[in-house]
Amino acid sequence: MTAGFLSQYGGEIAELTIEHLWLTGAAMLFAAAIAIPAGIWLTRSPRWAKPVIAIANILQTIPSLAMFGFLLPLPWLGERAARIAIVALTAYALLPILRNTYAGIRGIDPAVVEVAQALGLTGRQRLFKVELPLAASFILAGLRTATVTCVGIATIAAAVGAGGLGELIFRGVASVDNRLVLAGAIPAALLALAADGGLGLLERWFQPPTK
């Protein structure tokens, strides 16, 4: 029975898993490309930190189904479901990455930053030699939170036809077939766990040496 189910749906599960990974991965790249530079900029202009983080916060409170719905009628975005999904997931991923980049750099021992300035490091040298290496594990922790959240939210993207493992879940719910629901939910959970574990390892790798 189980073997029969897997031989029937195995190929589709694999395909949808890859699609799921692609949606989440693309969103993570976009979110990191926006939120890490934005977080760095906020450390340079801290008076903007509150309002900008508040906006990212509000984005995150929008219910995910509503978010996908809001994006549906937009011109270029609405044409392709995958675009909607990636934009929505990016929006959700911004806050944890932004917040951790900002807090990670602001949390560096002020004496270290002061000496970096006093030794005559340029702004860029200070960022790349001192601040980013010391904040890296923090930034990765934000990326990890964002990824785990988005792997989960990406299942809802199937509601607008963007595919991913949510498709099996929605079909299973519609046809009252628990096996189909699990066929979507279990790989999604495993993906989340794998992302959590993998990024967690990377995070520890970047931890600056201390006692």
Partner: protein, 264 residues
């Protein structure tokens, strides 16, 4: 003799309107050590930090080697001035060797030369490169960290060293060792040093001149040998405050030997 650092009517007022430095004029001769004494909040650290423009003065100017720091290129100015602070500010993710060699590194010095220079500097500050070069800051004691901080400040061969309470967090014995090391090093290297300290003994031991600040004003600027005999009441109360414990202990001995008098 030419002045390596000159303060001209230098003032600093906080955005809240508090006057931290009030028209300080002072010249530090090339190759000499000047200690700045004063209470916490007297403006010592602020004065020191105007030299490498970590603080921008509100009025007056600072000349370094005869040129106004206002006109200078900020990065070049800072690389030509060593900076040592009590908290050390060592980069926790770099080895001792890389901490010391960071300024040569960003100036593009080849790796082999940098490593050699770091090792030489570590030896200069009394750390054996063979056992310390590859360690990380958290694996060092407070005194060792301070030595690394000093080696790093010397790496770009600056003519000027700014030292803000460099040994303030160390126990008295370690502090004395560090003072000995610094004194020998300065006798050899001939740097112009501006040393902020609370410690009168440290000032007397290391400095050629002693400056006393009080509430942002310059009270005295004297040769170290004249400082103890300066007539100003601020100077005398500073000296009295510093030697209280010693005097009290001696008076205690005197009192107890008086009360048990006649024994010998």
């Amino acid at each position: 003799m030419s002045a390596a650092i000159e303060f001209r009517e230098l003032s600093f007022v906080t955005p809240q309107g508090r006057v931290l430095l009030d028209k300080i004029s002072l010249a530090l001769e090339d190759g000499t050590t000047t200690a700045i004494l004063g209470r916490s909040g007297s403006g010592k650290t602020t004065l020191l930090r105007t030299v490498n423009r970590m603080v921008e003065p509100s009025g007056g100017e600072v000349l370094v080697h005869g040129e106004s720091t206002r006109a200078a290129n900020l990065i070049a100015l800072r690389r030509g001035i060593g900076y040592v602070i009590q908290e050390t500010g060592l980069f926790p993710h770099f080895t001792v060797e890389r901490n010391v060699g960071l300024v040569p590194e960003i100036e593009g010095a080849p790796r082999a030369g940098r490593v050699q220079r770091s090792h030489d500097l570590l030896a200069t500050v009394g750390l054996d490169p063979a056992s310390f070069a590859r360690r990380y800051p958290h694996q060092l004691s407070g005194g060792q960290r301070q030595r690394v901080g000093l080696a790093r400040a010397l790496a770009a061969e600056p003519g000027i060293l700014l030292m803000d309470e460099p040994f303030g967090a160390l126990d008295p014995l370690t502090r004395a060792e560090m003072q000995d090391m610094l004194r020998r090093l300065l006798a050899r290297l001939k740097k112009t040093v501006l040393l902020v300290t609370h410690d009168l003994d440290e000032a007397l031991y290391l400095a050629d001149r002693i400056v006393l600040l009080s509430e942002g004003r310059l009270v005295t600027d004297l040769a170290a040998s004249e400082f103890l005999h300066a007539p100003q009441s601020e100077v005398q109360s500073y000296i009295r405050a510093f030697h209280r414990g010693e005097r009290s202990a001696e008076e205690g001995i005197a009192a107890s030997s008086a009360s048990t008098g006649g024994e010998n």
